[in-house]
């Protein structure tokens, strides 16, 4: 009996080790490969020799990408959209989630009203007409405002506020603060886990959002980085280049350009993730268990 158990344990451990290796490889190897491609010479890329190490090392692709006017303006637009969008989102969602976590008249009606939009939404064309009707086409608001309140995230926030220790709020009330002051001076400073989680979700959303720019914005100068990258990956010609076209295309293959643009745009997320990880798993779990 004991030897069987020990044997089973051993097999189990082996399978787990293999599993860990597969997960790591599956997630990381594609990026290692692209990293290699982005630094490799066009000849090496064309012959398909590059696997996980660069061949004929050069940094031309990155120089090209980072000096390109569209990409620079794309970065700027993305940063702007992301910061404004995230700030507005957090503010609106807090203003909505905090009162709804309290027992006030009409609470369940409002919650249902919001949750219903999770099951059924307006659809692409009516939303487009709405944005058009509000005169927001070709403005930054068209790609920010429609996404400020996400019902699912709102639910997570509501669950978080519901767990907030009531005595603290009551004490503040007796000290003469009104609920709005309580929210901003006492509850929010103590709600860092949920705020960081939401901020991370929204940052990732706005940073990756490209489709609404495709339909609501017409000027290339307003495009966010992801839409520019999508156009590069689509094989569209890079105009407005900061470098002499002929020279660069001779040394830099489109493959390394594409790879470099992928690496450059994913980098912010790669950097951000480890710092916020401890917050967002907690934040996501709070909602997952209760919701």
């Amino acid at each position: 009996m004991r030897t069987i158990r020990r044997y089973e344990d051993w097999v189990f451990k082996l399978v787990l080790a293999l599993f860990i290796i597969v997960v790591f490889g599956a997630v990381l190897l594609p990026f290692v490969h692209l990293h290699a491609v982005s630094f490799s010479s066009s000849a090496a890329n064309a012959s398909g020799k590059v696997s996980f190490l660069p061949i004929g090392f050069h940094t031309m692709a990155y120089q090209f990408i980072l000096s390109h006017r569209d990409i620079l303006s794309g970065f700027r637009n993305s940063v702007l959209q992301t910061t404004v969008g995230t700030a507005l989102s957090l503010l609106l969602m807090t203003m909505c989630a905090y009162p709804l976590s309290k027992k006030i008249a009409g609470q369940s009606f409002f919650i249902w009203m919001i949750m219903l939009t999770m099951l059924f939404n307006g659809g692409m064309i009516p939303t487009y007409m709405m944005i058009k009707g509000l005169g927001m086409l070709d403005t930054i608001w068209a790609v920010i405002l429609p996404f400020c309140i996400t019902p699912y995230y709102l639910m997570l926030m509501m669950n978080f506020f519901r767990e907030f220790p009531e005595p603290i709020e009551e004490a503040a009330l007796i000290d003469g603060l009104n609920p709005i002051q309580i929210l901003f001076r006492i509850v929010l400073p103590l709600s860092k886990p949920i705020l960081v989680t939401m901020a991370l979700f929204m940052v990732v959303f706005y940073w990756n959002n490209w489709f609404s720019s495709l339909i609501y914005l017409n000027k290339t100068s307003m495009y966010p980085i992801m839409l520019i990258v999508r156009n590069i990956l689509d094989g569209q010609q890079l105009v407005n280049s900061g470098m002499a076209g002929q020279e660069t295309t001779k040394y830099v293959s489109t493959a390394s350009l594409k790879a470099a643009s992928i690496m450059v745009t994913s980098l912010p997320i790669f950097i951000l993730l480890p710092f916020t990880q401890k917050y967002f798993t907690k934040g996501a779990l709070i909602g997952a268990v209760k919701g």
């Binding site: 203003m95 006030i104 409002f110 309140i149 594409k258």
Partner: protein
């Protein structure tokens, strides 16, 4: 002495009465602040969520360029009849639900399995590391994921074809072949979202009562038996809820990704309702017609969730609401 007490009593009655009035007043005041906070978000939701829902009226009305966003004249079910008789609609319709069925069949069990296996990794640091790494793709843009696929699968320089070439397989243009579309779509979904989707199952697993495992230990259950007889039944409610939720999206695929993966040569499989809506509505500005198509898809999705929920309630006792 006596007098003082009487005064004290009267006074305290007075105070209590005043206190009660103060409390009701305070509750009203308190709620006024809450409603004040709610005002802007509720207005926002009315405009940005319910505005477009009402805007679906466009499906029954004729839109005239430069006219009202709600259309100019009633057309009844004309647009619905139009697309129901069209082959391209039915192709998109079938692609949509088939893609989603495959999606449901493969992605949810994979994330359950993932949660179960990772949960068995005992050193906590290792477990956390595996989880963190598996979350990474979730945060990457679909643009990048599709770009990654295109690069890896390219017939001329892609890594995959290069490796297959070494085994003597001729290069295949995976992204361009209709036959490969569903496989690629679903496997990339698994690659991107398995780690993240398993969070909810992890949460369910960690809330299982430890006594159940101890009891199973006493009965001489092995690790596999414990997973099968304790963990799985315990996370069943979560699994059912996740499935019902996913049913709601049966008519709306992650359409941005489909759009990115779309090429004319794989359109036979990659045409879904929402890409049709996009092409007819945004690109050909045929607003009413495409609103009708998307409304049909959305309503069908709603009916499916409600039905799935009712069925789940009846047969498994677990449900969404």
């Amino acid at each position: 002495m006596n007098r003082v007490m009487v005064i004290g009593k009267a006074h305290s009655r007075e105070v209590r009465k005043e206190g009660r009035m103060n409390r009701t007043r305070r509750i009203i005041r308190k709620n006024i602040h809450y409603y004040f906070l709610l005002l802007i978000p509720l207005l926002y939701i009315l405009v940005f969520s319910y505005g477009p829902i009402i805007g679906n009226i466009l499906a029954f009305r004729k839109f005239v360029p430069g006219g009202s966003i709600y259309g100019e004249e009633w057309t009844g079910l004309r647009y619905f009849k139009m697309f129901l008789g069209e082959a391209s609609f039915w192709r998109a319709f079938n692609n949509t639900w088939l893609l989603n069925i495959y999606h449901l069949v493969f992605t949810v069990p994979v994330s359950i399995l993932f949660a179960l296996i990772v949960n068995e990794i005992k050193p906590a640091r290792m477990r956390n590391l595996v989880q963190t790494v598996s979350y990474l793709p979730n945060f990457i843009s679909i643009v990048v994921v599709v770009g990654l696929m295109t690069e890896l699968l390219s017939p001329t320089y892609g890594l995959v074809n290069e490796l297959l070439g070494k085994l003597g397989v001729p290069p295949t243009f995976f992204m361009n072949e209709a036959g490969w579309f569903r496989t690629l779509y679903i496997s990339s979904e698994i690659w991107q979202f398995t780690g993240w989707n398993s969070i909810i199952f992890f949460a369910a697993i960690t809330s299982i009562d430890h006594q159940l495992y101890e009891a199973a230990d006493m009965d001489g259950a092995g690790r596999l038996q414990k997973i099968w007889h304790v963990t799985l039944p315990q996370i069943m409610p979560t699994i059912v809820v996740v499935y019902i939720m996913s049913f709601g999206h049966l008519m709306t695929v992650a359409f941005e990704k489909v759009l990115l993966m779309y090429t004319p040569s794989n359109s036979e499989r990659s045409d879904v309702i929402e890409t049709l809506v996009y092409r007819i509505g945004i690109q050909s500005t045929n607003y009413s017609y495409s609103t009708a198509i998307s409304l049909f898809g959305g309503l069908l999705g709603l009916v499916i969730v409600v039905t799935a929920n009712a069925l789940a309630k009846k047969y498994t006792r677990y449900s969404l609401y």
